[in-house]
């Protein structure tokens, strides 16, 4: 009998919440629109790949060798020759203005030194104001240098001792990228974007949940009704859980249908992972909501947590490159676990046998935050 009453009260509470949330056309749109738009735009924008590094060349040697070197740049998919200049000052000026990233300057005597076996060096200026791009460009540069040197050596051997050429020992690397054969960065980023959007959506909605009633003054009205506290909390969180689930399905569809990310794992495992994460995000949002007096305070605090959580989730930057302390710290970050879970299920197709520790951490986080917020809520009313 008591349970039936309880369910009835929660049902009424849910009804109120849904009417309140969906009444305003603005809010209705905010629940789904932004997440969708962001998913599409960020799916495209987030790419670490550096293709076509822009380049300017100053060739003061003008020999067959120097032209051969330049043609290796123009043939490489990683470089795009922006400009052939004739003056040294043009190189400097262009780098200053940001017209190109890399300036290659081949001195006269380049070919002569090669023929004399002296080894030739080429001057390069790199705009390193974006240190990451600069590092990658330097890597490409060395590849071009190595392949030019290799071809030059084989060519020379062919002239001196043609019968030996095919015996020169050579080791190749045969690379097999598993799970994402084309090394497409959308496949890597889309699951991460999904996790981030879910966090922001749910945490913000819940962070507002209780404090809004308190700020407007309707919390007291709710409290004089026979509803119990845990029923109130359930009534507050279930709608956001449902909205979050709906959004998750929507975003997953965009990921698979629009971006072509394969779903190799079991859809049930995916659902479990996302739901447990939602509970963790709900718990955190609710906790902040019970601690805040105004919506502004609650929102700023939520933001204070969101930024480090995003930065330390391994979403944009590899966790293995972080200092050990932060690697350990990131174990407490539910976003880190869900990003890993999403990537693993979508791309690797692994199941619960591999992912259970991550699920467990998220579940513990959810349990802790939810129970603390129910306790705190009790106190805060008395």
């Amino acid at each position: 009998m008591r349970i039936r009453e309880s369910i009835e009260r929660i049902r009424q509470m849910l009804k109120k919440e849904f009417i309140q949330t969906l009444r305003d056309p603005h809010t209705r749109w905010f629940l789904f629109g932004p997440a969708l738009i962001q998913m599409v735009v960020f799916g495209y924008a987030a790419t670490m790949e550096i293709k076509h590094v822009s380049l300017a060349v100053l060739d003061q040697d003008n020999t067959q060798e120097s032209r051969e070197l330049i043609s290796r740049f123009s043939a490489s998919p990683y470089f795009r020759i922006e400009k052939y200049v004739t003056e040294r000052d043009d190189l400097r000026e262009g780098i200053d203005r940001g017209d190109f990233l890399l300036a290659v300057e081949i001195d006269s005597g380049f070919a002569q030194r090669l023929r004399n076996d002296q080894g030739a060096s080429v001057q390069v200026i790199v705009d390193s104001s974006n240190s990451n791009t600069a590092l990658v460009a330097l890597g490409y540069l060395n590849q071009v240098g190595a392949s030019f040197a290799h071809a030059y050596q084989i060519d020379r051997m062919r002239r001196i001792a043609p019968q030996l050429v095919s015996f020169a020992p050579q080791v190749d690397l045969e690379a097999r990228p598993w799970f994402n054969e084309g090394l497409r960065s959308e496949w890597y980023f889309v699951p991460g974007v999904l996790g981030n959007l879910m966090l922001i959506l749910i945490m913000n909605l819940t962070a507002f949940a209780v404090v809004r009633e308190r700020e407007i003054g309707t919390l007291e009205q709710v409290m004089v009704t026979p509803i119990r506290r845990w029923e109130f909390i359930l009534g507050k969180t279930i709608p956001f859980f449902l909205i979050g689930s709906f959004d998750a399905v929507l975003l997953a569809l965009v990921g698979t249908l629009w971006f072509g990310v394969p779903l190799r794992g079991h859809i049930a495992v995916l659902a479990i992972g996302v739901m447990v994460f939602q509970l963790a995000a709900l718990g955190l949002g609710l906790l902040l909501s019970t601690m805040a007096k105004t919506q502004q305070q609650s929102m700023i605090t939520a933001f204070f947590f969101t930024m480090p959580m995003t930065s330390l989730s391994g979403f944009g930057t590899p966790i293995s490159s972080m200092p050990l302390f932060f690697q350990k710290l990131s174990y407490f970050n539910p976003l880190r676990h869900v990003v890993l879970i999403l990537r693993s299920i979508f791309l690797k197709g692994v199941g619960l046998d591999v992912l259970w520790p991550n699920m467990l951490v998220m579940a513990a986080f959810a349990l802790l935050t939810l129970s603390v917020s129910i306790l705190r809520f009790r106190k805060s009313l008395e």
């Binding site: 603005h26 200053d96 705009d127 974006n130 990451n132 190595a146 930065s311 590899p318 591999v354």
Partner: protein, 377 residues
């Protein structure tokens, strides 16, 4: 326009902010936390990639080759496997991101035919680490290959030259390739965008929601006076945040500062006007704090994080996305900051960015002013 009324409006807003010291403290601490994370924790360099090796040859040659993998700090050998299923398990469980498998008879086939290949299995579910790791592996194998080739040539009596083409790169602007120097402009822009648009987005919405807007409307204060009075305190907070960020970056983290502080603060003020007006506009249109907050998040936090060129280079994005970034004021601000910090560029090189920023300031101020009507309903 009356200065007294503006001052009164500002005073009210300052009192309101001051009543909530926790929020104010967080606002001033957020930039430091962000800088700390980007200074100490987050690193875009891919190093210490966990590696698993499986040597099916077990000869001196294969050991030599694998030693090259052990010698760099690009890879950390975390597992040595002795069967293939173990390799697969390690990759599946994420124990390692790269596995190098040396085929049986590597030494023999090198000896007899001169050709041999080594297999690298990459966990490309992290395509970034995978492709960079692939580059490292390729470079290691290449240099090993060159080594054995040179010693072979010497044995054959062919004079072998030294490595023949070397590039001598000079890195300009950020000589030590510090990723911190790269991040600072982005962190400053992100913090300003958030503090500006995020906080102001609530100011008008709050008055509507609490019903105090009617009281405000019944006073003689004009709509322009409300706008200026309400935004002034946040302007001061924003500038303080910029100063904290820039100061900590230069004096604590040692990021070079080569431009002029004048240009930095002038452009920061311009950018603040942009984001404050944006927040004000959102606030007026949304009418509820929840809606305003969601909208402000949509147009500030993630776009500044992902689309401003702060982490992901704009010129590598698809063309359509590049167009979208063109209407994003943060993009120009990040570019200006990067120039001011690292290049110390003359103002004439910044004219394009500054005028784009100024144009968006004009548009948004107009939009904000026109959107607010001093009447109910």
């Amino acid at each position: 326009m009356s200065w007294t009324r503006i001052a009164a409006m500002t005073r009210k807003e300052v009192l309101q902010i001051g009543r909530d010291p926790r929020s104010l403290l967080i606002i001033l601490v957020i930039p430091l936390v962000q800088l700390f994370i980007f200074g100490y924790a987050v690193n875009l360099d891919v190093k210490h990639v966990p590696l698993c090796i499986y040597d099916r040859d077990g000869t001196q040659t294969s050991q030599d080759l694998l030693k090259h993998f052990q010698a760099t700090d690009y890879f950390d050998v975390v597992r040595v496997s002795d069967n293939y299923p173990d390799v697969v398990r390690n990759i599946d469980h994420g124990v390692c991101s790269v596995a190098v498998v040396v085929p049986p008879q590597l030494a023999e086939s090198l000896h007899s035919s001169g050709q041999a290949s080594v297999q690298a299995i990459l966990d490309a579910s992290d395509s970034n680490t995978a492709s960079i790791g692939m580059g490292y592996a390729q470079a290691i194998v290449q240099s090993y290959s060159a080594e054995i080739q040179i010693s072979w040539q010497q044995k054959q009596g062919l004079a072998a030259g030294a490595p023949i083409v070397t590039f001598q790169p000079r890195t300009w602007f950020n000589e030590d390739l510090e990723s911190m120097a790269n991040f600072v402009p982005g962190v400053v822009a992100m913090v300003m965008a958030v503090v500006g648009a995020f906080l102001t987005s609530l100011t008008i919405a709050r008055e509507w929601e609490r019903g105090t807007m009617e009281q405000l409307i019944s006073t003689p204060v004009g709509k322009l006076e409300i706008q200026i009075g309400k935004l002034l305190p946040y302007f001061v907070i924003g500038i303080t945040d910029t100063a904290i960020c820039a100061g900590a970056a230069v004096w604590w983290f040692g990021v070079p500062f080569r431009g002029s502080w004048m240009v930095l603060f002038a452009c920061s003020m311009l950018f603040l006007i942009v984001v404050l007006s944006l927040g004000y506009f959102i606030s007026v249109t949304a009418k509820s704090q929840l809606g305003a907050c969601q909208m402000a998040l949509l147009v500030t936090f993630l776009p500044t994080f992902l689309l401003s060129g702060f982490i992901f280079p704009i010129d590598q994005m698809p063309v359509v996305v590049q167009w979208i970034t063109a209407v994003l004021p943060a993009r120009y601000y990040v570019s200006i900051l990067r120039n001011v910090f690292l290049k110390g560029a003359a103002v004439r090189l910044l004219v394009g960015d500054i005028s784009a920023l100024a144009a968006s300031a004009v548009v948004l101020v107009l939009l904000a002013t026109r959107s607010f009507q001093k009447r109910l309903g």
